[in-house]
């Protein structure tokens, strides 16, 4: 099965969501059964369906000043932050052609990140009951997805640059008091976006057997 790849570069969250919805419709109709969107977002806070607004710690005034919007979405999970120092993957898969199993899909996404991190000698870990990927109790990748008619959208954000981590202080990520980390923090050097994108695509293809 061929993977339809779309690299949107740096793009506002809402615009990327528009692309996702279009590809989602095509996947639901069976025209393109699998796509992978890669992108980075300008600073934004998104709230999942089960989000509690109390998990936004910054005031409205503060967020306005920083030009950070808060957007409610239909994905699972609580509050999260996205910024240009993260690489985001949005897989649009029609699970009718894979496996109709939500946990299989979530564990698969974690596996994509774990294998991508292993390229750099890092050991990403899962914590049972806490979807995402962690390095020594610090979270490096967050996951929040939506499935409509067994076709997925929304996805995974991987923290690449330490400069973006300070903005996590604006929220309680996932409604929990957790520490975040980035690839730069763990390696002590910056990895080129292009390189990490290639890794993510390769590992994604390996995990989901394209």
């Amino acid at each position: 099965m061929q993977l339809n790849l779309l690299n949107l570069g740096l793009i506002p969250f809402e615009e990327a969501l528009g692309f996702q919805k279009e590809l989602h419709l095509r996947a639901r109709e069976g025209n393109i059964s699998q796509s992978l969107i890669l992108c980075r977002h300008m600073p934004v806070i998104t709230l999942g369906r089960s989000a509690d607004k109390k998990n936004i710690l910054a005031s409205e005034e503060e967020l306005n000043k920083m030009m950070i919007k808060v957007i409610r979405t239909e994905r699972g999970g609580d509050a999260t932050y996205h910024g240009p120092g993260q690489e985001i993957i949005y897989p649009i898969l029609n699970l009718n052609n894979f496996k109709k199993d939500i946990r299989w899909f979530l564990r698969g996404l974690e596996e994509v990140i774990i294998r991508s991190l292993s390229v750099y000698g890092l050991q990403g870990k899962r914590f049972s009951g806490f979807t995402g990927v962690w390095i020594n109790q610090r979270k490096i990748a967050s996951i929040g997805i939506a499935i409509k008619n067994w076709t997925t959208f929304h996805g995974v954000s991987l923290n690449l640059l330490s400069s973006d981590l300070t903005n996590y202080k604006l929220i309680r990520p996932c409604g929990m008091d957790i520490s975040m980390t980035s690839l730069e923090d763990e390696l002590g050097r910056i990895i080129d976006f292009k390189e990490i994108e290639e890794n993510l695509v390769n590992k994604f293809s390996g995990v989901f057997n394209n």
């Binding site: 699972g76 496996k99 199993d101 939500i102 997805i145």
Partner: protein, 78 residues
């Protein structure tokens, strides 16, 4: 009368939390309309309406936990 039942969602998933009703009791629904959304782990998923008709009764509300195979609602077929 058609029952809307929570289907199997995958290995090890026994329940989900109801996160959103797209319609309320008494509303007209069409087959395949998004009827209700549930959440498990970090995923939301929708259940489309199995038929066209009137949403006659709902048995769970937003925030409630629902077990697999439980009936969420009934639809009076047109």
């Amino acid at each position: 009368m058609v029952k809307v039942v929570l289907p199997e969602l995958g290995e090890g998933i026994e329940k989900a939390t109801l996160s959103y009703w797209f319609f309320k009791v008494g509303d007209k629904v069409s087959a395949k309309d998004d009827l209700v959304e549930l959440t498990t782990d970090k995923a939301t998923f929708n259940l489309p309406s199995p038929c066209s008709g009137i949403l006659s009764e709902i048995f769970f509300h937003e925030g409630d936990s629902v077990n697999i195979a439980e009936t969420l609602a009934t639809i009076e077929e047109e």
